[in-house]
Amino acid sequence: MTQDTASPTPTPPPTLAPAGALWDVHQPVGRRSLLLAAIGALLGLGIAGYGLFTAQGTRTASIPAEDAALVNAIPVLRADLIAQVTALYSVPYAQTTRSQRQKVLDDMVREELYVQRGVEMGLSNDDIDVRQALVQATEGQIAQDAATAKPAEDELRGWYTAHRAKYASEGLMTLHEWRVPAGADPQRAVAALRSGTAPDALGLKTTGRVDDGEEFYFAAHEHLGTRVFAVARGLADGAISNPIPSPDGVHIVQMIRNTRPVATPYPEARDQVLRDFLADKIARLQEGNKRFLKKRADIKIAADLQ
């Protein structure tokens, strides 16, 4: 009697794939997956490490090419070093010695250390000069942001149109200012002047305030005072004013030539328009910045000062 025993087929032990099979994509090889995963992981780590140690603000691995030094991760710019070296020794950078550069760099590092220490100690709150410098630097930063974008031509033209009077030339006037002698009738003197009588013949004396020939309006204003200037400004060429009572007697203005301010054409005023436009933009930005800072700040004012 034979016994039919069903013996199971033995599973072949796992064998290592032949070396060439690793590169044959048609053969399943476990090591290939591991190898590719490892390569991928290494690549990922490399990229992450590079990003971590070279990104702005996280410079820890090496000194970036643009910097001469790092002081507690704060860069000392190479360009600033060059500027200071050349300014100090008054020779091209290439002609300075290693020790000269070293000295300047040492000074810059020292300065940076002291600045950082000063901030730690809270000097920015205590020292008047530091506070003023900080205020100015912050204002300057806003100015920089505003100035790096050139306004469009339409914006400049719009500004010019809205402020045309500002770009007018300064008015000019050539005139005489007479003082009426005591006892004389001012109205008769005016009438005589208007009819062509010489001032000498009427006994009129100059006040001496506007005898230098043609003057700008601002200068005439300064010399004549607001009241007499206002009268003079309204006179046409050759006109004689009515008598003007003044503390030192009655005055009469005789206008020789009055050249009123003339609007400067846009192309000629363009540089001034740009300057004023940017100044206004900066002022508005600074005002907006002040409002923002006040809004986000916790400001408490004593009851008696509110």
Binding site: E66, L77, A83, T86, Y93, Q136, A219
Partner: protein, 257 residues
């Protein structure tokens, strides 16, 4: 169903034919990138004045600086760097430099900190006073000039390029120039002062135009051109590259520092 071994080997070989060039391409791109970064770093580490003399650094800096110029500088200085007289923007292609000698480092300094741009490192020392106003200069007490004095000054300066026709008038002009204190910035010889951006008045290079009307207006209304500070807008590499590009627009000066 597995493909016959012969077919599989052929397919693998075909794939390898693609994979090898792909790897080579990737290697070339990476090598180029590494080399590009190395040259960019060299541009930053080099003495700025040596860059224009080194073909590799020069080409790399100019190639990188041109787009920066086009984006941030050309709107005022013009695409070709010819400037704009209506805004007092200087021509970058001539040999005249308003501030110092026009070295790469100096140009970079201006690009970084600006001129009258609100940055304390920048050039903020002087402006052209407006002599036809009550207070010609906000920073310094200067006397205003009369219309006649301004006319005398304008004709005196104009004569250096237009030619002297009246020696007596020229002498009156020189007296007025000295009396008004113009020499304080522009020098006794009218040669200007690069340390404060005061231009020479005797040559034919004009920031705002050299007609007698232009000169009269400059004296009467003053000038105060501005160049923005890009310290926080551009990276150090962009600043260096654009400085090299701008320096390359001007003719090479043998005495350049």
């Amino acid at each position: 169903m597995t493909p016959p071994p012969t077919f599989a080997r052929a397919a693998t070989r075909r794939r390898l034919l693609w994979i090898i060039p792909l790897f080579l391409l990737i290697a070339a791109v990476v090598t180029h990138g590494v080399r590009y970064r190395a040259i960019a770093a060299q541009v930053l580490r080099a003495d700025p004045e040596a860059i224009l003399g080194d073909p590799t650094l020069r080409d790399a800096a100019i190639a990188a600086g041109h787009p920066v110029y086009a984006q941030h500088c050309a709107s005022c200085h013009g695409a070709a760097g010819k400037g704009d007289r209506t805004l007092g923007v200087p021509d970058l292609t001539d040999s005249e430099h308003l501030y110092r000698e026009g070295t790469v480092a100096q140009i970079e300094d201006i690009a970084r900190y600006g001129i009258r741009a609100g940055n304390k490192h920048g050039w903020n020392l002087a402006v052209m006073p407006a002599y036809a106003s009550k207070n010609p200069d906000a920073a310094e007490p200067l006397p205003p000039q009369t219309p006649a004095q301004i006319e005398t000054l304008a004709r005196f300066i104009h004569a250096f390029t237009a030619g002297v026709t009246d020696p007596a008038a020229q002498q009156r002009g020189r007296d007025a120039y000295n009396k008004a204190g113009c020499w304080d910035c522009h020098g006794r010889d009218l040669g200007g002062d690069g340390a404060i951006g005061a231009p020479a008045l005797t040559d034919d290079i004009w920031l705002y135009g050299g007609s007698i009307a232009d000169i009269r207006r400059s004296i009467s209304r003053g000038r105060a051109g501005m160049s923005p500070a890009f310290a926080r807008k551009l990276t150090p590499a962009e600043l260096r590259n654009v400085a090299v590009y701008v320096a390359s627009l001007a003719p090479i000066q043998s005495d350049r520092k």
